[in-house]
Subunit: 340 residues, 2 copies
């Protein structure tokens, strides 16, 4: 099968590798209808995260089940499915508490690779969620978004306790931040402040529900949000970047007793204990338990209540994966969908 392999920073190739197949009896193999490139795929692409030899890339996927292992009970060949970027049994105590991204049997799909013509899905019964039927073509980008960026933005909004009467600030205007805005709106937030300097992303932020745009960053961004909130700060803040500056900004602009939901994979973030102590905020985040939210998200997409697929602003065939990575790296695209 054809698959996207990263050989070195900036060196992405599409190559022939052996077909994915059932290895464990709890595995399924799916044929993805669409996959995509994630912001986090850019860390190794830019040489910020180390690569250990040629690496199969990707962790997002939607598609049709082609094979199932002997112990798979709830998923059958021919099912149309969506799964999270973390495979989970969905039965352990941690999964049952809603933290499937930290399942005691978790498998990171990034370690399997999904940017390919076939994908092995571990723990298929726990991981995969069936759609109500075969989706119309225009729903596929939104279902694909549910696999990670929508589910992650949604978790961030839930972790930040976005809801009625709340002012929500969103640090980061990538796909996750933009979908955090959409989630905050769906959860009933009264006011949503998007922190963004890019006109195209500001426009999409407004479409997704942002009521205010703040272009300032760092201390100036904190001051501006306080100014907009009677000097108190936001009730709820989504941190969707992962840098130290973004985290400090998120904590700084949240009022005492408020909530910060952070989902940007942390890079060189150091949180000063005394500063956090006197901030009096709640801090919660990590790899999003997307599986917790998938049934609800699929339902909202199926009913066409939300259109998260709009974060994809470029679609390319899998063979042009190199160009997909380059376009995101150079910020020519927010997020690229690949059709295998």
């Amino acid at each position: 099968m054809r698959a996207v392999i990263m050989h070195a920073p900036g060196d992405v190739r599409v190559e022939e590798i052996p077909d994915a197949s059932v290895i464990e009896p709890t595995d399924a193999v799916i044929r993805p209808a669409a996959v995509c490139v994630c912001g986090s795929d850019l860390w190794p692409y830019r040489g910020i995260e180390a690569l250990h030899g040629p690496t199969a890339m990707g962790h997002e996927y939607v598609g049709v089940v082609e094979q199932v292992g002997a112990e798979v009970r709830d998923i059958a060949v021919g099912d149309w499915v969506v799964g999270s970027f973390v495979a989970s049994d969905n039965t352990c105590e941690i999964c049952q508490a809603g933290y499937q991204s930290r399942c005691v049997h978790q498998v990171m799909m990034g370690s399997v690779g999904t940017q390919s013509e076939l994908v092995r899905i571990p723990l298929a019964d726990g991981t995969l969620v069936k759609t109500p039927g075969v989706p119309e073509a225009d729903l596929i980008p939104s279902l694909l978004a549910a696999s990670d960026v929508l589910g992650t933005g949604w978790f961030a909004a839930v972790a930040a306790e976005a809801g009625p009467g709340r002012t929500v600030a969103v640090v980061g205007d990538g796909a996750v931040g933009l979908l955090g805005i959409l989630a905050a709106r769906e959860l009933g937030a009264e006011r949503i402040i998007a922190m963004s300097r890019h006109a195209d992303r500001q426009a999409l932020a407004r479409e997704f529900g942002a009521t205010d745009i703040v272009e300032e960053r760092g201390d100036a961004g904190v001051a501006r949000v306080k100014e907009l909130t009677g000097g108190l700060g936001a009730h709820s803040t989504i941190e969707a970047v992962g840098t130290d500056e973004a985290m400090q900004q998120a904590i700084g602009l949240t009022r005492p007793g408020g909530h910060v939901g952070f989902v940007g994979v942390s890079h060189d973030v150091q949180i000063d204990g005394l500063g956090l102590f006197f901030s009096s905020v709640h801090l919660h985040g990590g790899p999003a338990p997307v599986r917790r939210f998938l049934p609800d998200l699929i339902d909202r997409i199926w009913r066409r209540e939300i259109d998260p697929g709009r974060v994809f602003d470029l679609t390319l065939p899998l063979e042009e994966a190199a160009e997909a990575y380059a376009a995101m790296d150079e910020r020519r695209a927010t997020k690229v969908l690949l059709t295998p």
Copy 2:
């Protein structure tokens, strides 16, 4: 009036200073029935926190109102009252959300000093809570504990979401940690793991509700708690020390999706962002909004349901404050009550 003044690390004296009096029309002046020395008073005593000249000490107090300012409405001369270590208006948006320790008009009582014969209480209507009457003498230590250490341990247990079905771990066996154990028991926790190496404190921990004692610290302490919790970690963890080691231990021994409530004033704590990200815990703490809990705590003490005053293991007259500080510094006492 007589008051405790710290002149330098290790140099605590009782001296004559001008009587406390009403300055702002929202002030009251109380005559404390009892005051005490806090673990946090030991930081300057040990030279770890800087002193800026001779400093009036203390921030805990219970007693009788002697004077009120012209704008005080709800508190009257002769009332028996308990207040928090932070004066607050109890009406601003932050107070109304339950974070009176971060009131927009907050006054830290430590900046006023309460270890004296009279104490000025700013924002008296918001700060002071009346007891149902004149307390019997044996209730006074418990009411005094409510002013800080009980309220702080209670907040830590609430921040850690201690409750039915939960396993709660408590890092720190000082007065706050011990009362965090009592709070967790009152909130219905199923199992309470006290982390302590001192036999006398272990005994009090068990009286307050601890079901397990762990003597190991650091990585060994984390491993032991995981062993006691099926490999998963505690649901809820109270951090009541404030050192980097204690914070790392608290985060490390909490399960994904669990809650850490931290109330030890942070000293040199640095939290690694990536470690926190992959811990998937909730982190919340800071100066405890004791005022939120005072009516309930006074009620439980008045009904003799709880006996938090047991953390005082030494009582001295105010004149012997120097010995009180020395006894706590040398760990000859957990907490010392002073009678003015």
